[in-house]
Point group: C2
Chain length 128, copies 2
């Protein structure tokens, strides 16, 4: 699972922040990425459409997150120079491969989140 990268370190090489799992979490662990990927899953969408679909996202964060996804090659941005301009966002092939790990997370969440909630309540009760 969590391993260090293949730098030829000493055998005592600890758990470094550049392990693969942490690096991908840096990419998708932010507030909006997985919601955008989810919103694009069924096909392309325009900027305004995405903004409407994703509850609470600001224009700035939507732009910023889409740009990051485009830079990573996970989302393709296509500009149609009509008047007014139309911009479509689509998941790339690579972007679609994110589905599996995301679904694994979702499954864990669905099966364990109620236990986690219960544990939190018990912990908080004991603390008081």
């Amino acid at each position: 699972m969590v391993t260090t990268s293949s730098e030829s370190q000493l055998p005592s090489s600890p758990y470094r922040a550049d392990c693969p799992t942490r690096r991908i979490l840096d990419r998708i662990g932010d507030r909006w990425t997985v919601l955008i990927v989810g919103a694009l899953w069924d096909g392309s969408a325009r900027f305004s459409e995405l903004r409407r679909r994703i509850e609470g996202v600001s224009q700035k964060m939507l732009t910023q997150t889409l740009r990051a996804l485009e830079r990573d090659g996970l989302v393709q941005r296509t500009v149609y120079p009509e008047v007014p301009v139309r911009v479509e966002y689509t998941l790339t092939e690579a972007g679609r491969t994110l589905r599996e790990p995301l679904r694994a997370l979702e499954e864990w969440s669905i099966t364990h989140l109620s236990d986690v909630s219960a544990s939190q309540k018990a912990y908080d009760r004991a603390a008081s």
Copy 2:
């Protein structure tokens, strides 16, 4: 497709921040959680041992993250009232179930991160 009258607002907001995937990312998407889980994977460890194993973690963040994991029921904390005191941290059953989703992420990372890096470089080159 979800269509609703203007009176019903329940089905009209598809991608909410409280979706299961986002909620679990809120828990494990931070800087240290997955590294701690990884460091505990092979068995229990004491506080100092963890601190030595996880590169760059501060005392404060290690404590804070371990407390959160304990509160969530993913890590068990056991105090042995010796002198000096000894404290052992162990993954719970629930904590161990995190392995599957984390491994899915790791696998994605390993197979796609070089493509992502290449895409970033191309993107940045085009931007200049």
